[in-house]
C-alpha cells in the first residue's frame, strides 16, 4: 500500500495547479472535492493496512472534504448566482508560475530538513508544503469569497498531509475534532458568504473595503 503514496501525492500536486489555473468556481469546488477524496485514499495507504482508526478517518475525510463541504460551497455559489472568478489580483498564468516556483522550492526546502528515516525520499513533506503554499496563493490573490474558502481548504489540506507523517502519534479523537472544526468553520463561512451576497448583491470581497485606515 505504501507504494501508491507518492503517485497519489503527485496527483494532489497536479490538482493544486488545476486550482490555480481555473477561473470557473464550479471547477474550483470540484478540484477541492477531488483533493478531499485523494486525502482519504492517502490516509489508508499511509497506514499500510486497513485499521479501524485509518478507516474511520478516511471515511470522515471523504464524507466531509469530498462531499459535505463541496455541496455547501456549491449551494453558496448557486445562491450568489456567480460562476466565475474575474480579475484576480494576480492573473492565472502568473499564479501558475508562482505555484510551480513554490512547489520547486518546497522540494528543495524539504531536502534541507532532517527527515525521519522512513520519510527520506518520500513526497509527503514537500507535497504538504506545496499544497499549503497553493492555498496561501489562492487566499491572497483571489477576490471572490468562495475562491478564498477553497484556498483555505487547500491550506488545510497541506496541513493534513503533514499530519499523515504522524499517524502513530495522533489520537483518533483529535483528528476527528480537527475535521469537525474545519467543517464548522466552512459552515460559518458559508453563512457569512450568504449574508455578504445579500448585503452587497455580490460575493466580491473587493467590496468589503469600508473598514480601513
Amino acid at each position: 500500500m505504501q507504494a501508491v503514496v507518492d503517485p497519489l501525492l503527485v496527483v494532489l500536486l497536479l490538482v493544486n495547479f488545476f486550482l490555480l489555473g481555473t477561473s470557473r468556481l464550479r471547477a474550483l469546488i470540484n478540484g477541492s472535492a477531488a483533493q478531499g477524496a485523494l486525502l482519504a485514499f492517502l490516509v489508508i495507504s499511509v497506514h499500510g493496512e486497513i485499521t479501524w482508526q485509518a478507516l474511520a478517518i478516511a471515511l470522515a475525510t471523504v464524507a466531509l472534504k469530498g462531499a459535505v463541504i463541496p455541496s455547501m460551497l456549491s449551494r453558496a455559489m448557486r445562491d450568489a448566482a456567480f460562476h466565475r472568478e474575474v480579475e484576480p489580483v494576480i492573473g492565472f498564468v502568473p499564479s501558475l508560475l508562482l505555484g510551480s516556483l513554490g512547489t520547486g522550492l518546497s522540494l528543495v526546502f524539504a531536502r534541507t530538513l532532517p527527515l525521519a528515516p522512513e520519510h527520506v525520499g518520500s513526497l509527503l513533506v514537500p507535497a504538504s508544503l506545496a499544497t499549503a503554499f497553493t492555498g496561501f496563493l489562492l487566499l491572497a490573490t483571489r477576490r471572490k469569497a468562495i475562491t478564498q474558502v477553497v484556498g483555505y481548504l487547500a491550506l488545510e489540506n497541506g496541513v493534513f498531509v503533514m499530519g499523515l507523517t504522524l499517524v502513530e502519534a495522533m489520537p483518533l479523537l483529535v483528528e476527528i475534532g480537527i475535521l469537525l472544526d474545519l467543517v464548522v468553520a466552512i459552515f460559518v463561512m458559508g453563512i457569512i458568504i450568504e449574508h455578504i451576497s445579500r448585503e452587497f448583491s455580490s460575493i466580491d470581497t473587493a467590496r468589503l473595503s469600508s473598514l480601513k485606515e
Binding site: 532532517p114 469569497a145 457569512i192 448585503e199
Partner: protein, 476 residues
C-alpha cells in the same frame, strides 16, 4: 472540577439556546458567570485539578489565566442584561449561547494539556466569536466578521502546521511521539533542532495572529471597531490572554530545549514591531473604538516583549497580562456606552462625554490613564517591571525604545480621548441613552480592581504570578 469548568457553561449555553424568552435569556449570563467564578475559586483552592487521564489539568499557568477569564466574564455578564435590554430590536438567541460557548472554550484552552485538544478549543473560540462580531447585522459588521474569520482561520491553520512540526521534531529524534505538553517539555533537549525552530516560528505566527501581534493584526481594528463592547472586552481581554497562554506553553518547550535565546529574539522583535505599528496608527486614528484595538496590539507587543527580555520580564509580562485584560474591560465597556449615547464612533462627532455620561466618561478617561501606564494604576507597575528588567539585563536599547513608544502612544491616544471626554456635548435627545446602574457598575468594579492592583499586589495573586513565571521560564 476540571470537567465542570467546561461543561457547566456548555449546559448554560444549551439552556440559553432552548429558552424562548428574549427578555430573560440574558440573565443566564450572570448566573453562569457566578457558577464559573465559584468553580474557579474551588479549583484554585484544591491542589490537584485534573481529569480524563491528564488531558485536562490546571497547571501553574492555568491557575493564573483561569481566574482572569472568569472575573472578566463575570463583569461582562453583569453588563450584558442592561446592554441587551437596550438592544431589544436585535435577537439575542444566537448571541447569548455563543457567549457562553465562548466561555466554555476559554476554560478548555486554559486546562488542556494536549496540543491537539488546545488547538481544537482555540479554533472553536474563533468560530464562536464570528456570530458575536456579526451581532449588528450590517454591511460593516459583515466585513469585519469575514476578515476576522478568514485571517483567524489561516492563523489557526498555521498553528496546526506548527503543532505537526513539533510532533515531527520528536519523531525525527526517534522519541515516542506524544502531543502532551509535559512529555514535550521533558523530552525537549532531545528534539530535532531544525524542526523545533520551524515549529516555533509557525506556532508563533499562528497563535500570534490570534493574539493580534503585528504584522498579523490587520483583523483587529475592524473586528474590535464593529463588535459590541462586551465582545470587544472578551476578545481583547480573555481570548488574547488564552492565545498568549498557548504561546507561553510553546515558549516553555523551546526554553526547556535550551533554545530560549532563539525564541526570545523573535519575541523582542515582534513585540517592538507591534508597539511601533500601534503607536503610528493610534496617532492618526479618528475612530475611538479602532483606537482601542491598536491599544490592544500595543499591549500584546508588551506581553511578548516582556517574555523576550526574560528573568523579571516574564513576571512583569504575566502581571501585565492581568492588568491589561482588566483595563481593557473598563475601556471597551465605557467606550460602548459612549458609542450608544452618541451613535457615533468618530472623535469628530463625539464631544463632552464627561458632561453627558459623567460615569462612563470618567471611567473612559481613567481607563485611558491606566492603559497608558500612568501611576497609580496597575499597568504602570507591570510596565515598570518590564522596563527595569530590560535595563538590568543588558537590553538598554530595547528598554529605551519601549519608553519612547509608550510616550508616543500616550500622546496619540490622549488627543483622541480628551477630544471625546472634554468640551460641550452636542444637543441630544433627553430620552436617549443615559448612565444606568447596570451599564456602569460592572465597569466601576473592573476599575476598582485596576486601582487596587496598582497600589498593591495581594499575596495570593503574587504567589500565582511567581509560580507561573517559574513554570514558564524553565532552565534546560
Amino acid at each position: 472540577m476540571a470537567i465542570a469548568l467546561v461543561v457547566v457553561p456548555l449546559i448554560f449555553a444549551a439552556a440559553a439556546a432552548a429558552m424562548p424568552s428574549q427578555r430573560w435569556r440574558p440573565w443566564l449570563l450572570p448566573a453562569c458567570a457566578a457558577a464559573h467564578v465559584a468553580l474557579t475559586l474551588a479549583a484554585l483552592r484544591s491542589q490537584d485539578v485534573a481529569a480524563i487521564g491528564g488531558w485536562l489539568k490546571l497547571d501553574d499557568l492555568g491557575r493564573l489565566v483561569l481566574p482572569l477569564v472568569s472575573v472578566l466574564f463575570f463583569a461582562c455578564s453583569l453588563y450584558a442584561p442592561g446592554y441587551l435590554a437596550l438592544r431589544r430590536e436585535r435577537s439575542n438567541r444566537v448571541f447569548v449561547p455563543c457567549l457562553l460557548f465562548f466561555l466554555a472554550m476559554n476554560s478548555l484552552i486554559v486546562e488542556s494539556q494536549h496540543l491537539g485538544l488546545m488547538w481544537v478549543a482555540i479554533e472553536a473560540t474563533t468560530l464562536a466569536a464570528a456570530p458575536l462580531l456579526y451581532f449588528n447585522h450590517n454591511a460593516r459588521s459583515i466585513e469585519a466578521t469575514w476578515k476576522y474569520l478568514l485571517i483567524g482561520s489561516v492563523g489557526i491553520a498555521l498553528a496546526l502546521f506548527g503543532t505537526f512540526f513539533l510532533a515531527y521534531a520528536a519523531l525525527r529524534a526517534g522519541l515516542a511521539t506524544s502531543l502532551f505538553f509535559a512529555d514535550l517539555v521533558r523530552e525537549a533537549p532531545r528534539l530535532s533542532r531544525p524542526w523545533l525552530h520551524a515549529a516555533f516560528v509557525l506556532l508563533f505566527v499562528g497563535y500570534g495572529t490570534k493574539m493580534g501581534l503585528a504584522p498579523m493584526h490587520t483583523w483587529k481594528p475592524d473586528a474590535y471597531g464593529e463588535a459590541p463592547g462586551i465582545v470587544g472586552t472578551l476578545l481583547a481581554g480573555a481570548l488574547t490572554s488564552c492565545a498568549f497562554l498557548a504561546l507561553l506553553r510553546f515558549y516553555q518547550i523551546v526554553a526547556a530545549g535550551g533554545e530560549a535565546a532563539f525564541a526570545r529574539q523573535l519575541m523582542i522583535g515582534i513585540g517592538l514591531l507591534s508597539m511601533a505599528v500601534a503607536s503610528v496608527f493610534m496617532a492618526r486614528q479618528r475612530d475611538y473604538k479602532r483606537m482601542l484595538a491598536y491599544s490592544s496590539v500595543e499591549h500584546m507587543g508588551i506581553l511578548v516583549l516582556g517574555v523576550g527580555i526574560g528573568g523579571a520580564g516574564v513576571y512583569g509580562a504575566l502581571l501585565h497580562l492581568v492588568n491589561n485584560a482588566i483595563t481593557k474591560g473598563v475601556l471597551f465597556l465605557s467606550a460602548g456606552n459612549i458609542h450608544r449615547a452618541y451613535g457615533s464612533k468618530s472623535i469628530d462627532d463625539v464631544r463632552g462625554a464627561l458632561r453627558r455620561l459623567p460615569f462612563s466618561g470618567a471611567l473612559f478617561l481613567a481607563g485611558f490613564f491606566a492603559v497608558t501606564g500612568s501611576p497609580p494604576f496597575a499597568p504602570f507597575l507591570s510596565e515598570f517591571t518590564i522596563v527595569r528588567a530590560a535595563m538590568t539585563s543588558g537590553h538598554a536599547v530595547v528598554g529605551g525604545l519601549f519608553l519612547v513608544m509608550l510616550a508616543i502612544v500616550f500622546i496619540g491616544m490622549g488627543g483622541a480621548v480628551l477630544a471625546v471626554t472634554q468640551g460641550e456635548p452636542p444637543p441630544s435627545d433627553p430620552e436617549g441613552f443615559r448612565d444606568r446602574l447596570g451599564t456602569v457598575a460592572p465597569i466601576a468594579l473592573l476599575m476598582a480592581v485596576v486601582v487596587l492592583l496598582g497600589v498593591y499586589v495581594p499575596a495570593p495573586l503574587n504567589a500565582l504570578l511567581r509560580n507561573a513565571a517559574a513554570f514558564v521560564d524553565v532552565k534546560p
